[in-house]
């Protein structure tokens, strides 16, 4: 259980991370065995292996942890989580670190976070994701020459009818917007307590 001080705020960075992860993530149970780092398909490309990151969290190094590219290279394969002998919910912790690094404006590199932001834009305005919009916005902004590399795929997708030119909108988009707005309000309250409203 995350330890809290008398005003309800988490005591350490580790406690913050645990408090900001839904359900029980058991991060305090990590014995640093390295199964996660050994299993990770994108591990070799990360600044720090997941295990190293957890050691840094325990050592109270929020700046380095939240500036690391590790969570953004997580592919959500869940190998680490099912193999962890201490049942740490590693993938959920990675999502928490993504959120924290953006909220606290620590993560400098923009591509990964922006991809998510673009995706979210379509979902929040239409209720469904819109691939063409997502791909074109993202690639033109971050990887314009990459467009040429996948040009034949793009053409293929169009000719084979696997890509739509118009986004679809759900009927209850207003209801969805209201729900999401309320949820974000609740989250902001939680964050004020967990993250101390820090910059």
């Amino acid at each position: 259980m995350p330890e809290v001080v008398s005003n309800g705020a988490p005591r350490t960075f580790l406690d913050q991370v645990v408090a900001a992860t839904p359900s029980k993530c058991h991060l305090e149970m990590c014995i640093q065995c390295g199964t996660c780092g050994g299993s990770c398909p994108s591990g070799p490309d990360m600044d720090h292996t997941p295990r190293t990151l957890f050691a840094m969290i325990r050592a109270g190094m929020p700046d380095q942890v939240l500036r690391s590219n590790t969570p953004w290279y997580c592919v959500s394969c869940y190998y680490c989580m099912v193999r962890c002998p201490q049942d740490v919910h590693i993938t959920d912790v990675m999502y928490t670190l993504k959120r924290m690094s953006v909220k606290l404006k620590k993560y400098d590199e923009a591509i990964a976070a922006n991809f998510s932001k673009t995706f979210i834009f379509w979902v929040e305005n239409f209720g469904r994701s819109f691939e063409l919009g997502l791909m074109s916005q993202h690639m033109l902004r971050h990887n314009p020459f990459g467009v040429f590399r996948i040009a034949d795929m793009g053409v293929g997708m169009v000719t084979k009818g696997r890509i739509s030119f118009t986004p679809k909108r759900i009927k209850g988009i207003d209801g969805l917007r209201a729900i999401l707005a309320k949820a974000k309000e609740i989250e902001a309250e939680d964050d004020a307590r967990i993250l101390g409203g820090a910059e």
Partner: protein, 680 residues
């Protein structure tokens, strides 16, 4: 007549006094419970000390106390202390009661005022109860000097030899055709690198020859009745189909038998045996057995080659299982362990990838009497590996499989590293989480293996795969692991992988425990009487445990426990008689309606049913020696016919009355609420 009760409240240093106002409680008891018979109430720092005990003894003699209540720790710890103290002062020990105000009050509450009030209530309960205590005498039963040892591995062998050497008789029951257990399968033992068979077989031979040991091999216990000092054990001697009076152990039958079978027990599935076989050449006893399921004669009616070639005519296809009954005074269970099934961890590839071996398979591989004559080779039986990876903690320290550490795997893995290096000169990697080399000469062995050039990677292996990804990986097994000391994922190509699998309780440990009336803990190992102070005794008198069946351990510890269990048994035998606690149930024949509800409820099989005769109706009866006084039958009897000495209904109701006599939310001076008189 009112009893004269002494109440003694212990401080236990600050353990009790830190949370309970002990002086106040003692004062309260002396004043408020005087009308219930309390003539003296004292408090003292450590009641269990000699001085503390002397205070009680002095009061018994000078104040003529007839009852004593000690408010202190749990009776589990010091009940014998205070009862003995009373006995030595001339008061029957069963007239002394303990009330736990440590485990049940000071250690579990944080509100001092409430804790103090609760202590008073508990003492009041103790006082009311002790009034109804009776002076009891322990039951004395004679001890049969014979001993049963179940399991012929190193622990069982050690126990049997020690008991037999001092002069009484031992029945050693072993399930396999030969004694020796897992130790007989090993090649070398750590840390000395003694050849396992070389140090084991002399003891095995001693067992086989010992005049005081009856070796019942290829046998299993099927029933246990009785109680400490007097057990009646039924043993099934499985049919060997070989007449042991005629067999001279020449082994010709084995040679001539045409049916080859994979030996999944002794050879760990890596080698073959015949349908008629001795598990290994130095087997004790030397007599082979016929495996019915795989014998051509039993399955098809033909062959009989063994019978044709046997020079002494010892083959007897008509042999039947034999049941014998033994009378013993004590039993020692030394049934050992099974290994973790590595097939459960799919990502290590055992069973799919040919060159992944378990530790037990590797022992057979490196054993000179094994399927390859001691040559360390790959599964093709020919190729010598050039790189070997040894993985620690397979199936251990893992919430998905077994949460505990299996104790021996680190040393075993180091031993394998040494053997591989010595025999093949291969490059060896050990993959570990922690290096557990705690005992005598163990860490020095680790140093030796480091000197020899084994490479250590500190990381728990994520997967073993044959899917090549990088150059140099084709045709190899790749161990993917995070080298945590450099914080990088590595893919290490090897030829052979050895999985140090964990130890698990025997698959049928629970059933065996039930036969003997002992329990298994959550992880499945037999439960000892106390994990620190009494590891070889169990909660059932007369049943002892020794070796790996109590928990994973190495050979020296198994031998020590075998010897310890033997010493306990010999100690009991020498007393010739055993005294049994008189806290037990007894059934009033007149009130018993023979409903038999109690019969199956008794966890110790202490209740027997007596059929009706022409003289009297049927009734159930408690065997006082077997009864452990648990009280289950007392509570269950619908006729109220069962009386529990020291736990009678009267005593329990009185204790409840005392507990509830204080006003709730007391202010520290709770007055006693007098019960309303029952109208006449």
């Amino acid at each position: 007549m009112t009893e004269r009760i002494g109440v003694y409240v212990c401080h236990c240093g600050s353990n009790i006094a830190g949370m309970v106002d002990v002086a106040e409680v003692a004062k309260w008891a002396g004043e408020k419970l005087a009308s219930r018979g309390v003539v003296v109430a004292r408090d003292y720092k450590f009641m269990c000390s000699s001085t503390g005990q002397e205070i009680i003894q002095k009061d018994i003699k000078e104040l003529g106390l007839t009852r004593v209540v000690v408010a202190a720790c749990s009776p589990h710890l010091h009940e014998p202390t205070f009862r003995t103290a009373c006995e030595r002062a001339g008061l029957n020990p069963y007239l002394c009661e303990m009330v736990s105000i440590r485990e049940q009050v000071s250690w579990v509450h944080t509100d001092k005022a409430a804790a103090t009030e609760k202590s008073k209530a508990m003492i009041a309960g103790g006082v009311e109860r002790v009034i109804y205590n009776e002076p009891l005498e322990p039951l004395r039963v004679p001890i049969n000097p014979n001993t049963l040892v179940v399991g012929g591995g190193i622990a069982g062998i050690q126990a049997a030899l020690e008991i037999a050497d001092q002069g009484t008789h031992v029945y050693l029951v072993e399930r396999e055709p030969s004694i020796g257990g897992h130790m007989a399968q090993f090649d070398k033992t750590f840390p000395t690198l003694d050849c396992s068979a070389c140090i084991l077989t002399p003891k095995m031979v001693q067992v086989g020859n010992h005049p005081n040991i009856t070796l019942l091999s290829y046998s299993e216990v099927t029933n246990v009745d009785g109680y400490v000092g007097n057990f009646t054990v039924t043993v099934k001697k499985k049919a060997r189909y070989v007449n042991t009076d005629l067999c001279n152990g020449c082994g010709l039958c084995q040679e001539k038998c045409p049916k080859k079978v994979i030996d999944t027990v002794f050879e760990a599935g890596l080698g073959y045996r015949k349908a008629i076989y001795r598990p290994f050449p130095q087997a004790v006893p030397k007599y082979p057995v016929i495996d019915r399921e795989n014998c051509t004669f039993f399955q098809k009616g033909t062959c009989k080659a063994c019978q044709k070639f046997c020079p002494t005519g010892a083959i007897d296809f008509n042999q039947k299982d034999e049941y014998i009954t033994l009378q013993v005074g004590n039993c020692i269970l030394a049934t050992g362990y099974d290994v973790f099934d590595a097939r459960r961890i799919s990502q290590y590839g055992y069973g799919r990838l040919a060159n992944v071996f378990t530790s037990l398979e590797f022992e057979r591989l490196s054993n000179a009497a094994g399927p390859t004559g001691g040559k360390i080779v790959l599964r093709d039986g020919v190729t010598v590996p050039q790189t070997v990876g040894i993985i620690h903690c397979v199936g251990s320290r893992d919430k998905h499989y077994n949460n505990y550490c299996s104790v021996i795997c680190c040393m075993q893995s180091l031993k394998f590293a040494h053997l591989v290096k010595e025999r093949t000169g291969a490059t060896v990697y050990n993959f570990y989480m922690d290096m557990r080399t705690a005992y005598k000469d163990y860490d020095e062995f680790y140093q030796r293996v480091l000197e020899e050039g084994t490479l250590f990677v500190r990381g728990r292996v994520a997967e073993v795969t044959d899917a090549a990804r990088l150059p140099g990986e084709e045709g190899k097994l790749i161990i993917q692991v995070e080298d945590t000391f450099i914080g990088k994922q590595r893919r290490i190509p090897v030829d052979m992988v050895i999985l140090s699998v964990g130890l698990e309780p025997r698959r049928d440990a629970k059933e065996l425990g039930k036969l003997f009336g002992i329990s298994c803990a959550a992880a499945g190992w037999f439960i000892e009487r106390h994990p620190k102070l009494d590891p070889v005794a169990t909660m059932t008198e007369g049943i002892f445990i020794a070796g790996a069946c109590q928990g994973p351990k190495d050979i020296p510890a198994s031998v020590a426990q075998g010897a310890a269990a033997a010493a306990r048994v010999v100690g009991k035998i020498q007393q010739k008689e055993i005294s049994i606690e008189p806290i037990r149930a007894s059934i009033d024949k007149e009130r018993c309606s023979a409903c038999r509800i109690c019969n199956n409820l008794c966890p110790f099989k202490a209740i027997r049913f007596v059929e009706a005769t022409e003289n009297e109706p049927a009734y159930s009866e408690v065997n006082p020696a077997l009864c452990q006084g648990c009280g289950t039958c007392v509570a269950a009897c619908p006729s109220g016919a069962i009386h529990g000495t020291a736990f009678s209904t009267q005593q329990i109701i009185a204790q409840i009355d005392g507990l509830t006599s204080l006003k709730p939310g007391g202010d520290g001076h709770g007055a006693r609420v007098e019960a309303e008189p029952v109208p006449a």
